[in-house]
Every structure is written in C-alpha cells, then in structure tokens.
C-alpha cells in the first residue's frame, strides 16, 4: 500500500512542478492589495451593514485565492473540489440558523 501512496504522491508532485513561480507572487500581491483596501474602507465612515458586506466579500475572494492557489485546490480533481467545498459551505450555512435569535434579542429583549 505504501508503494501505491508513493506513486500517487509522485504524480501530485509532478503536477506541482508545472506551476509557475510568478503566479504565487501575483496571488500574494493581490491578497496584500485587498487587505490594504479593507483597511482604507474602515476609515471611510460607511454604514456598518454596507461595510460588513464589502469586507466579507473581499474576505471570500481572499479565501478563494488562498484555497485555489496556495492550497492547490484549483489543481485537484473535480470530485475532491466539490465534495470538500460543498460540505464546508453547507455546514457553515447551517450555523446561520442562530442569527434570527440574535435579532430577536435586539427587538424583544432577552426572554
């Protein structure tokens, strides 16, 4: 079984050899730029909901870049991509069930 695992690892390593070094620097520069934009927006006196929407949007783009390029998910087979990402998003989305309760506390008080 070790030999089989080794064979797969070598195939994955072979795929890595073809990744250009420059794309990692571009992704890094994009991530730093988006962080700078986030900090700039913080001091623009925007409405909290609007600011939260923009910040979370930028965070999702940054997360996609990190997962796709740095964690090499872009180069995995589609079964791996869909199963991991869909299960993660579904589980995190389920946790949103608590937010209406937080809003209830604001409007009705703690009961």
């Amino acid at each position: 079984m070790e030999a089989f695992q080794q064979a797969i690892a070598e195939r994955v390593a072979e795929q890595h050899r073809h990744h250009g070094k420059s794309q990692f620097f571009w992704v890094w520069a994009a991530l730093l730029s988006m962080t700078a934009i986030e900090v700039y927006l913080t001091y623009q006196n925007m409405q909290p909901v609007r600011m939260l929407t923009i910040l979370m949007g930028l965070s999702l783009v940054k997360a996609a870049l990190i997962i796709g390029y740095f964690m090499h998910m872009k180069y995995e087979i589609s079964r791996m991509k869909w199963l991991t990402m869909c299960s993660l998003v579904a589980c995190l989305a389920l946790m949103m069930i608590f937010f209406p309760d937080a809003l209830r506390i604001v409007s009705l008080g703690v009961k």
Partner: protein, 265 residues
C-alpha cells in the same frame, strides 16, 4: 516482458484513489474541514454577540489596526514562503525547502509576538477575563475596564477567538519546525519555552500559556523518537495545507473582529 512490467504497476494492483490524491493529504483536508467548523462556531458566536448587543464596543485605536495589519502582512507573506517551500520540496531542493520553511516560521513567530503584544496592551488597559491573573495595581482600571464589566461577551469572544487562532499559529510553527529540522528542533523548542516562561511576568497569561511549548516538545520528542523518518515533499505539502488554513481563518478574523470594531474619531 510488457505483461511482466504490468504486474509491477501499483495502480493495477490497488483500487485508484477516490479523490485522485494520496491518503495523507485527504486526511489533512478532513481535519481542516472539521477545524473550520470550530472556527466557524467561534466566529458565529462573536457575530451573534455583536448583533444582539446594541452597545458593542469599538475599542481598537489606529495603533491596534496598524498592528493587526502588519500581523496580516506577516501571515500572507508566510503563505507565500510556504508555497515556495512546497515548490522547492517537489523539485528536490532540500536547502531551499529548509530555508523557505524557516522563513515561514519566522513570519509566524512575528505574528505571534505582535499578537501577544496586542493582548498585553489590551489586558493592561482593563480588557480582561476572570480567568486571567490580576495585574498588580489594576483595581482602578484602564480605558476598557468598563467594557469588561458592561459587555463581558466582547472580552470572552475576542480572547476565545483570537486565542484559538494564536494557538493554531503556534502549533503550526512547531509543526513546520519538526518538518524542517526534525530532532534538532526539540532543543530549540525547549529554549523558546524557557524564554517565554521566564521572560514574561507571572501575572501575564503568556507566563502559563508558554507551557504549551513544553507539552509540544514532549509530544514531538515521543513522535520523533518512536517513528524517526526523513520528511518528503508530500509531508511538506500536507504541512503547507495546515499553514495556509491558519492564514485563511485570519482573513475572516481580521475584518470581523478588528476592522469592524475600529475606533474612528
């Protein structure tokens, strides 16, 4: 002859991997998925507290925001050096691999030190938890003493979330140290433990938190002595997945916790 060669083809003997990659990497992805739910729960708890509390504090001065931005830059740079370490590993360049791993560890340590400084400053100004040791002469309280009393959810969720992340970064640095230096890392880790333990005052939470390094040194020693091995490119790649995940989580903590709670004058 061709048939004889086919018999030695491992893919012909074993069923192909369902996910097209090796089991160590799938194992790490499964761990990261479960860990993302841990951080998801903490981030949702923080957001819940924020939504349900109208007088949620915005304590972070521009100094704190600059500090957190530098911490973010450290983590992003560490992700770049990590991916270069993986690249060096698959190319078989052991020296470059080790140097990039050490650069990643240096960035991670920079992050932890800056984060520790930020925590110490907030604690000195009165933002604390009941479990933290009392600071000498803190009875009068600092700028955030009333925050800790009126909105205790803030300190609880802030320290819970950022503390869990700091622990992950610390363990990530240790993980990379083991991959890069193997047994040679143990005395270095013990030296860090002594420096952190003896170099922090007894009323600092880091005085006791430093023992994480001692526990990690014992666990790493047992693992390295029981199963000594030379770590290959797949080990470096799997360690890289963990490190990038730590970076990824911070991409949500930084805007949600720091930027959304910036004090704008």
């Amino acid at each position: 002859m061709a048939e004889a060669t086919l018999l030695h083809d491992t893919t012909a003997v074993y069923e192909p991997s369902l996910f097209g990659t090796y089991s160590k990497k799938i194992g790490m992805w499964l761990f990261l998925l479960s860990d993302s739910l841990t951080f998801g729960a903490l981030l949702y708890a923080y957001s819940y507290g924020r939504i349900s509390t109208p007088n949620w504090p915005t304590p972070f001065h521009s100094e704190s925001i600059v500090n957190a931005t530098i911490m973010t830059a450290f983590l992003l740079t560490s992700s770049l050096t990590m991916v270069l370490a993986v690249r060096a590993a698959v190319q078989g360049n052991a020296t470059a691999q080790r140097l990039w791993l050490l650069a990643t560890m240096a960035c991670g340590m920079g992050f932890v030190i800056l984060h520790g400084r930020e925590w110490s400053k907030l604690i000195a100004e009165g933002l604390t938890l009941p479990v933290f040791p009392k600071l000498p002469g803190q009875a009068a309280g600092g700028e955030f003493a009333n925050v800790a009393q009126t909105v205790p959810q803030f300190a609880a969720t802030f320290f819970g979330l950022t503390g869990m992340h700091m622990l992950h970064v610390t363990l990530g640095v240790i993980y990379l140290g083991v991959i890069a230096l193997r047994r040679n890392f143990i005395p270095i880790l013990l030296a860090f433990w002594l420096a952190a333990w003896l170099g922090t005052p007894s009323y600092s939470p880091f005085h006791y938190g430093a023992h994480v390094l001692l526990v990690a040194a014992i666990v790493c020693s047992i693992v390295l002595w029981l199963k000594p091995k030379v770590y290959d490119s797949s080990d470096v790649e799997v360690a890289g997945l963990y490190w990038h995940f730590v970076d990824l989580v911070w991409m949500f903590i930084f805007p949600l916790v720091y930027l959304m709670s910036a004090k704008i004058l």
